[in-house]
Amino acid sequence: MSLNTTLIRSLKAPPRPVWEEPPSRAGLTAKGGLLLLCCLGVLGPLWIVVVTSLSPKPVIDQVGGLVVIPRGITFVNYTELLGGGQVSRAIMVSVGVTFFGTLFSMAVSVLGAYGLSRPGSLGHRYLLMTIMATMFFGAGLIPTYLLVQALGLTDTYLSLILPSAVSVFNILVLRAFFMGISPELTESARIDGAGELRILLTIVMPLSRAVIAVISLFYAVGYWSAWFNASIYLTDQEMLPLQNVLIQLVQKGTEAPTGLQQAVHTGELSSLGLQMAVMVLALVPVAVASPFVQRHFKKGMLTGAIKG
């Protein structure tokens, strides 16, 4: 009962400002229609991809392509893909690179941002300049490629992590947030004899949970979505991450992932259904993760935009 009333109250619009006239019916309809159109434009394609990946082969064959209205849901595409073979391996690679890459990027970024968060500390100006200058002038693709080769990183997973491990913009956002933490807090800890690392771990980081979550998501999405480094630094097919497998499947016109080609040729599985299932596997992690940190976006982006 009381739950019901609170629900209804929360759905009611907040009071309008006194000077604002109530909206006309036509205006409301137009506005709502536009918003609905935008949202359908995003969700529609995703719906079609998901439904096709869940459809059995006869349905896909009957429609002659993508399925819009679900009939006879089946998980056979997913169980086949995840039961070992090329896609399972690629998912493991992507998850591993994303996990360790994000951990590494965050460690370097948080340490660096904290180290730079006190104006006037020794070398502060020079260190900051060294970092900011990289935003204006990129090193270029070719010299980076030659360097990674010369360092012997080709065909190692390090080549997917190290060359693009840190984003200076992310570091400036973190730094701006750290600088906003009241100095009295860190000072009292310093008087009690805490070192900088300890202050960072026990005071600054717990206070910055929101911005750390947002930046971690940015890094993680970056690693999860990356395919270019893998395409130029990895020659071993077995090492390729999920995005690159998806490119081979859809862009290069390969029918089915290695290991499932037989099943496609004998007509047990639909190649389109399999491809759509790989798509879903690639987009689910980001689609699930982003809403959780969404409420922090604005705050995080703002601190970066104003002070960065």
Partner: protein, 351 residues
């Protein structure tokens, strides 16, 4: 600034430069060789003291500095191969080969100027930049105004959550989704075929390619772009709206005279950033669709560098193209920022 450096004790030692008046000031004066009270300038504190005080902070930035030195500054120096006849196999590895490759002066740049393919790529890049500026740039502003006019918080939150989503999808996913809808075997072609039409394939149509990539970019990033505008809008004082309403301004006039002026600095800033990035219209997006529509329509400067360097192994030439592109990019940022100052806006950095 001086507060953070001056008033921070370092545990074992007396405060290096104390700003607090009276009692603390006397202590500072008593300590020989310390900065006089009130200046608090970091430069007045002896180096040894500052090192002892700040070494932990410096150590913390070292991993970051090391990464940038190795993967940013070293490759930056590697651009010297643009002035060489670089041969990666002349010595031990790709780096030592730089020291053994013969110099070629500005030969690569001359080659570039005479290369019609380079000019084709430049033309594609600039045309795409123009289209993006006209068709992409205003979309987030319009969307932000639309969302901002919705009063119900729940509707706002849901609409925003949905519009942000595509930003987090990789280009591979976005292009695949478009392919499944507008491609030769896509859902539109399917529907048309079942009604007796045929031959619809937007994904391989070189003439429509520039509109296609703009549509992809809008789908992926327009929703994300509204964040910064919404933030600027939420900072507008309601008093302004109220005053305008008192003066008889209607809905549209309030938008024109209150809302849009509030967005002006943000729009100017983003415009400066965009113009500074004019030569980078996107890389992955074009590389992924290069095979489908051909190099003629999809080659931009970034993919040209990739093709000449990594595909053809013409490293010196590709590095020269990349270097020139980078230099023009820096000039564009500085120029656009100057222009913003002339218009009375703040731009990226202050005067």
């Amino acid at each position: 600034m001086s507060l953070t450096t001056g008033s921070r004790p370092d545990g074992t030692r007396p405060p290096a430069a104390v700003e607090e008046p009276a009692a603390a000031g006397a202590a500072a004066e008593a300590t020989k060789g310390r900065a006089p009270r009130g200046t608090g300038k970091a430069g007045k504190v002896p180096f040894r003291v500052r090192w002892h005080r700040d070494r932990a902070l410096i150590l913390m930035t070292l991993p970051l500095i090391a990464l940038l030195l190795v993967f940013h500054y070293v490759p930056l120096l590697g651009n010297v191969i643009a002035f060489q006849e670089y041969d990666p196999y002349i010595a031990g590895n790709g780096i030592t080969a730089i020291f053994h490759s013969p110099w070629a002066g500005l030969e690569q740049v001359e080659r570039m100027v005479e290369d019609p393919l380079f000019w084709d790529a430049t033309q594609n890049t600039l045309v795409l930049f123009g289209i993006q500026l006209v068709l992409f740039f205003p979309v987030p502003i319009a969307l932000a105004l639309l969302i901002n006019s919705v009063i119900r918080p729940r509707v706002r939150a849901v609409a925003q959550a949905i519009m942000y989503l595509p930003h987090f999808f990789s280009w591979v996913l976005v292009i695949t989704i478009f392919q499944q809808i507008f491609g030769g075997a896509g859902i539109i072609a399917q529907t048309l075929e079942s009604h007796g039409w045929s031959g619809f394939d937007l994904m391989t149509n070189a003439d429509l390619f520039k509109w296609l990539v703009t549509a992809e970019a809008v789908w992926k990033d327009a929703g994300w772009g509204i964040i910064v505008f919404l933030a600027a809008l939420s900072a507008v004082s309601t008093d302004l709206y109220e005053a305008a309403a008192m003066d008889g301004a209607g809905r549209w006039r309030r938008m024109w005279h209150v809302t849009l002026p509030a967005l002006r600095p943000v729009i100017a800033l983003l415009l400066v950033l965009r113009v500074g990035d004019a030569l980078s219209v996107g890389f992955e997006q074009f590389l992924l669709q290069r095979d489908a529509v051909g190099a003629g329509a999809s080659e931009v400067l970034d993919t040209y560098v990739w093709n000449m360097g990594i595909q053809n192994g013409d490293f010196s030439y590709a590095a020269a193209v990349g270097l020139v592109k980078g230099l023009i990019g820096v000039a564009l940022v500085l120029g656009a920022n100057k222009f913003a100052h002339l218009l009375g806006e703040q731009g990226v950095y202050k005067k």
